[in-house]
Symmetry: C2
Subunit: 347 residues, 2 copies
DNA sequence: TTGAAAGCGCTAACAA
DNA sequence: TTGTTAGCGCTTTCAA
């Protein structure tokens, strides 16, 4: 089974064994021409026999290019991020890059440490998903290209790929308004830019109709894992509205929170969508599994990942900074109407 | 914002700017002593001013050690693997290693390509989760340590960390037998070793009691994503048993399949666990979200990841191959009894 | 079509 | 405590 557990064989060994110079071996490895078919065959044979594998550390050092991309992501175990990650890794692999994935857990310390590590490894570019450090620009200090996913623009030269959370939030709010007497928004304590955009959309839509959002935004003290905790604010809110005979429309900040709202409703024996309507956000599987299924915004993680990867690789390849595309790219989303809201939105 | 978008500053630049030799700078960077406090301060100041970052490509090349670990995983977007991945990455980062994650999609081609890539990048070790290539031993060709997660042993010298799928499968089958008149096992076409162990346990437990497993193993033509497809085999089976007035116990190969079985039961207006009982496997969130909740084996992904990481790093650090631990490590699991089986198992 | 040689950025003897 | 130097494995002129 063990072909050669001796020391690693290097290009020098190959050169020696096949009686040519290292330069020739290198040319053959890289298909850069300037060798005869005969030498090629001979060298390739030796390479096969010895099981030689190029040391890409040395190559990267020499050509000053690592063909590695770093991805900073808040949580690999989150379904949405995992899906973006998977697609990005696929796209980048096809484009000839390997991916180093870094789980930041929204900690600025970890993010900084990872950023350093990636720079030290001389990654050719970086994708930063929903960065924690809004103050730290992950600056172009080392002049490596960075593409952000889900981030508010801080300067005109940034490359950002994102769902239009604001527009989607508006859509959802409009839908809720058409079916409910009163609205509230339920969110968690975590405040990435995507969340803030959704909240702003909610407020603006209400305000456009002359409705005050005061007191109707509930921030839950929860992590998205703890579905079954008690949340007295939310419970009170729901009960009061029900007692007043008004149908409540709940704008949940994401699908997990929407599911949690559904659980609370069930505890009070309120039926959704008859007594209470709910929307989620993201289009995660819980929204199609839960009962009732949850009306939500389905983000296109594949498109997001592909766009970001392509943009990054383009930026890496262009040496002229003016050629690369800057600014925010909005990826289309879908409003999936399901059972947690009424079947037909009335106009 | 841009501190220095000029060419990268190297150790040579630092040496020059601070009026010492590169050796001194190197010693200071690595805290290897042999320098005065005064020089240290001076050099550190220059490093800070220039924003110098070590080129770890060069370091790795020189010391023949990359501090990088590769992880081959069948699917990042799968909840169980994602969770193992996350924990492993955390553990390895703490141990001073960066992680390159490779999504193999159970394709032997991709697995091979990634393996090569990782070798070329001179990773110090490898974690292979539920490998697709049972024939290819991912051999010790390059003498780098490999820890497998979820794999059947092929040789005594392998390091394997896994839940004891066989024992857990036995437990589940016993539980089902105590509550149902007839059993069946529902699986998909995918056949990793973990699946096969579960199936074997099911068969053995039946056989120990003199029951034949013939015809009671259904392999569904489905991916785990397509919950709502029709599966006539399964449907027939369920209907027939119900007409015969016998309570069926379904051993679903994992939680997703169990959920699917629940959907089928619902279509036939059969109630779980009264008319039909079901168990899952893995302990994924769907098993606690679905209605009814699903009795399942909860795998300890954290323990698996930690064990694997620790084992790998130990193997890397030991230069003497005899010092490292070999063989299979079974990580404890939990049988979570929930609503898809009867409240109390009768003896 | 081939080879000699310089050098990418770093570490580690060894000498001072 | 510091510096000189060789060399890790590779690519790439340049010359032959």
């Amino acid at each position: 089974m063990i072909v050669s557990n001796k020391k690693n064989v290097s290009i020098k060994d190959i050169a020696q064994l096949s009686g040519v110079s290292v330069a020739t071996v290198s040319r053959i490895m890289n298909n850069s021409g300037r060798y005869s078919q005969k030498t090629r065959d001979k060298v390739l044979k030796i390479i096969r026999e010895t099981g030689y594998e190029r040391n890409s550390l040395a190559t990267s050092l020499r050509i000053n290019k690592s063909n590695m991309i770093g991805i900073l992501v808040p949580d690999i175990a989150n379904e949405f991020y995992a899906s973006v990650l998977k697609k990005a890794e696929q796209a980048l692999f096809k484009l000839g890059y390997s991916t180093i994935i870094c789980n930041t857990e929204r900690s600025v310390e970890r993010e900084t440490a990872y950023y350093r590590m990636l720079i030290e490894h001389r990654v050719d570019g970086l994708i930063s998903v929903s960065s924690a450090s809004n103050q730290m620009p992950l600056s172009a200090k080392y002049a490596i290209p960075i593409v952000f996913i889900d981030r508010d623009p801080h300067s005109a030269s940034e490359m950002i790929v994102t769902t239009d959370h604001y527009a989607a939030g508006r859509d959802l709010t409009r839908l809720l308004l058409s079916q409910a007497d009163d609205l509230c928004l339920v969110m968690t304590k975590s405040r990435p830019s995507s969340t803030m955009d959704r909240v702003q959309a909610f407020k603006d839509e209400l305000s456009d109709r002359g409705i005050s959002a005061d007191g109707s935004i509930l921030a839950l003290n929860t992590t998205s894992d703890k579905f079954l905790q008690r949340h007295s604010d939310l419970e009170n809110f729901i009960q009061i509205k029900h007692q007043e005979g008004r149908r409540l429309g709940v704008f949940a900040i994401n699908d997990n929170v929407a599911y949690m709202v559904l659980q609370v409703a069930k505890r009070f024996h309120l039926s959704v969508p008859e007594d209470l309507i709910v929307t989620g956000f993201d289009g995660m599987s819980i929204a199609s599994i839960s009962q009732p299924t949850i009306t939500t915004i389905v983000q296109d993680s594949t498109a997001i990942a592909n766009q970001a990867s392509q943009l990054l690789v383009d930026a890496i390849k262009k040496n002229n900074d003016n050629d690369v595309q800057h600014g925010t790219i909005h990826v289309p989303y879908q409003l999936a109407q399901r059972k947690s809201t009424l079947p037909e939105a009335k106009k």
